[in-house]
């Protein structure tokens, strides 16, 4: 029996900021003061506020230590855990309210969130099935196996209004129905954990923080559609997620929650892991299944759809990790409960990976239909350094941007589509006035050129040509005609590509062209990059009024482009300048600017 629990995040984010050392120090210090029978250290998954990692939460008080360093641990153990004196100086500042210490659930980051898919993430020890069970785990599976017919399960999922969280937003209940209705001697249940969008990491966090909820949901799905074998296709770049999933699968088998006779009912189902080799296209459903089959990960035309002819040409159900993470909650709490959240057509909650120019980067789960403004300004804390919000990119390389003027748009499938973007897998990259929108489009196209599998010409060649046009524009050689050609090509690639990768790849270009066409025009007509990002269009100049002739910049310049005599204004030779910005960073008088 423990008096206190110290939860330390062992997710990828906090692990990279040294949380294993924090855990080690905690265990040592707790033993040193003889508290090992009173205080338990729990290694959890991601709790969301990655910007403040490593994070450490002490229960029952619920106090929140942020950016914890191993060298603080002795003081925290001696003071807080032994003597009950919370070490305020190490707490997350926002939780300190005069003499009171707020529970972290009452901070701006957490207050507006509704955690369903993430309800166990950062709360339980991810490698301990008993903690999962103690929090109500496997009650949904029990309910389904003992008290529901397969069709009843499908009806509940349909009625909940749950839609695919991987990006396309197709009705999960319908998908289950199609697979259940399909003819086949063997049916498969697959989980897409090949999370590839730059900036998105909710699937990784669910697998790292709550692997059993995915296993339980896949087993429920197998019962509903008549499946006997499951596969989780997860990227090899997620070693912690893979390891936790392996541990969880072994525990579930040991408890008879997977295998030949689940809970003694005679129902048979097991899950295997398949590692992806890091190809973005394998997140596309047909390419993913081709890859599981052992072939080169390339998409195939649909129809036939996976529900009829999927993995090994058998009926296959494929859902994304986050989609599965909602299932147990829907079974336990009912379809009406889930459908009461969100908007008319987008039910429940969605996890967004908040990144880019925002104070609180991390994972947030909000009811569908929450305005973008709430996410960026309240939960995210706005742009750092008082910069002005310019746009947000949703849906990664398949999505589009939302300009500042549309910041009140609700985040749901319909509203996003109406303004030319998508919810997608939930990546949400915030950009401020220092981001060039042409450069952003180029960044995403660089990614898709790299990741195009090459099977179909429109995607393989088209994305490359789009990238080259953007390169031409950002290097100052573009013309107005290029912009028109670029737009035309985007529509051709969209309509002619085989799979969603190519069909959505031009979206970042089209949406920036739509909302920030003036920036494109500034690049080709004025030969200027308004945000000051595109190096070829920049010029560093010294203001002779402000320059004191201190020579600091001339000494800093790596190419000797700055000349001038002491105490006289200096000048930059733009033919030599490599635009590294070292001079501007060095100048104490603010005399150097880029134009």
């Amino acid at each position: 029996m423990f008096r206190s629990y110290v939860l330390v995040c062992g997710g990828t984010g906090c692990t990279s900021s040294n949380s294993p050392k924090v855990i080690e120090a905690l265990e040592n210090e707790i033993k040193a003061v003889g508290l090992q029978d009173e205080v338990k250290v729990v290694k959890t998954g991601c709790f969301g506020l990655c910007a403040l990692g490593p994070i450490m939460i002490v229960y029952p008080e619920g106090v929140f230590y942020s950016r914890v360093k191993p060298e603080w641990i002795k003081e925290i153990v001696d003071e807080h855990l032994l003597k009950g004196r919370i070490v305020k100086k190490y707490l997350y500042q926002e939780t300190i309210d005069g003499d009171n210490i707020k529970n972290l659930m009452h901070t701006r980051f957490y207050e507006k969130q509704t955690r369903i898919a993430l309800h166990n993430c950062g709360v339980i020890a991810a490698e301990d099935i008993d903690e999962y069970i103690a929090r109500g785990g496997y009650t949904a599976l029990e309910k389904v196996l003992f008290h529901m017919q397969p069709q009843e399960v499908i009806e509940v999922v349909k009625a909940s209004g749950l839609r695919g969280r991987g990006g396309a937003g197709f009705s999960t209940g319908m998908k289950w129905q199609f697979t259940a209705s399909a003819e086949g001697d063997v049916k498969y249940v697959c989980c897409n954990a090949d999370e590839g969008d730059p900036g998105a990491f909710m699937d990784r966090s669910v697998l790292e923080g709550d692997p059993h909820c995915v296993i339980e949901a896949m087993t429920i799905a197998a019962y509903a559609i008549g499946g006997s074998q499951g596969y989780v296709y997860v990227r090899a770049e997620y070693p912690i997620a893979v390891q936790r999933l392996r541990i969880a699968l072994a525990q579930a088998r040991e408890y008879g929650l997977l295998g030949d006779n689940i809970m003694g009912t005679g129902f048979k189902f097991d899950i295997e892991i398949r590692l992806g080799a890091g190809a973005f296209v394998c997140g596309e459903e047909t390419a993913l299944m081709t890859s599981i089959e052992g072939n080169r990960g390339e998409p195939r035309p649909r129809p036939p759809f996976p529900a009829n002819k999927g993995l090994f040409a058998k009926p296959t159900l494929l859902n994304n990790v986050e989609t599965y993470a909602n299932i147990t909650q829907i079974i336990n709490n009912g379809a009406e409960w889930f459908a009461s959240m969100g908007t008319e057509k987008s039910k429940g909650t969605k996890v967004f990976a908040l990144g880019g120019k925002v104070v609180n980067t991390g994972l947030v789960e909000i009811p569908m239909g929450t305005p973008l403004r709430t996410v960026i300004e309240e939960i995210g804390g706005g742009c750092p350094n008082g910069k002005k919000f310019k746009a947000a990119q949703t849906g990664g390389p398949s999505g589009g941007c939302i300009p500042a003027s549309l910041i009140d748009t609700p985040l749901d499938y319909e509203s996003m589509a109406a303004i030319g973007s998508i919810v997608g897998s939930g990546g949400l990259i915030v950009m401020d006035e220092d981001n060039c929108m042409v450069d952003i489009a180029k960044f995403f196209l660089d990614f898709t050129v790299d990741e195009s599998c090459g099977k179909c010409a429109p995607c393989r060649i088209g994305t490359k040509r789009i990238y080259e046009m953007l390169e031409k524009i950002t290097s100052g050689n573009g013309t107005l005609e290029d912009i028109d050609k670029l737009e035309e090509l985007c529509y051709q690639v969209k309509s002619a590509s085989l799979c969603a990768l190519g069909q959505t790849a031009p979206n970042p270009v089209l949406s920036t062209l739509n909302y920030f066409r003036d920036e494109y025009i500034a690049h080709v007509v004025d030969k200027k990059c308004p945000a000051g990002v595109c190096k070829s269009l920049l010029q560093y100049v010294i203001d002779p009024e402000k320059c004191k002739g201190c020579t600091a910049c001339a000494r800093q310049c790596p190419v000797g482009a700055i000349s001038g005599t002491v105490k006289q204004p200096h000048v930059i030779d733009s033919s030599k300048c490599i635009k590294c910005g070292a001079c501007m960073a060095t100048c104490k008088f603010g005399a150097i600017s880029k134009k």
């Binding site: 029952p60 008080e61 009950g84 069970i133 109500g136 009650t139």
Partner: protein
């Protein structure tokens, strides 16, 4: 192989592990003085007794045990305060494990202050 009954047993046996992991702002708060004076007078045993008795009473989601520094009246240690939301804070003095059991049973379960142990 675990049957639903086995899983239910695990849920009961392991519930205490996760019971406190939520927002405890509205929980009954038992604070045990853990200054040097408190520790010397046996406050550790008192805090552990509260944890166990609260668990036995099935209240581990509704009542929490936290520590504090010296409460200022060292001769009366171990001292414990019990705060029931909406009620006055009650201070108990010269506590031990047996007294802790009675405070849980009477004050926390039945909401009757144990005046024998107050100052």
């Amino acid at each position: 192989m675990k049957t639903p009954a086995d899983l239910a047993a695990i849920r009961v046996a392991k519930k205490h592990l996760v019971a406190s992991r939520h927002d405890n702002m509205n929980a009954v708060r038992v604070t045990v003085g853990m200054g040097t004076c408190g520790i010397a007078a046996g406050a550790r045993a008192v805090s552990n007794a509260f944890v166990e008795e609260i668990f036995k009473a099935g209240l581990d989601e509704k009542a929490i045990v936290v520590l504090s520094g010296c409460m200022g009246d060292c001769s009366l240690e171990p001292m414990v305060t019990v705060e029931v939301p909406g009620a006055e804070k009650v201070t108990y003095v010269k506590m031990d494990a047996a007294k802790a059991a009675r405070v849980v049973a009477e004050h926390i379960v039945n909401n009757k202050v144990v005046t024998d142990y107050t100052k």
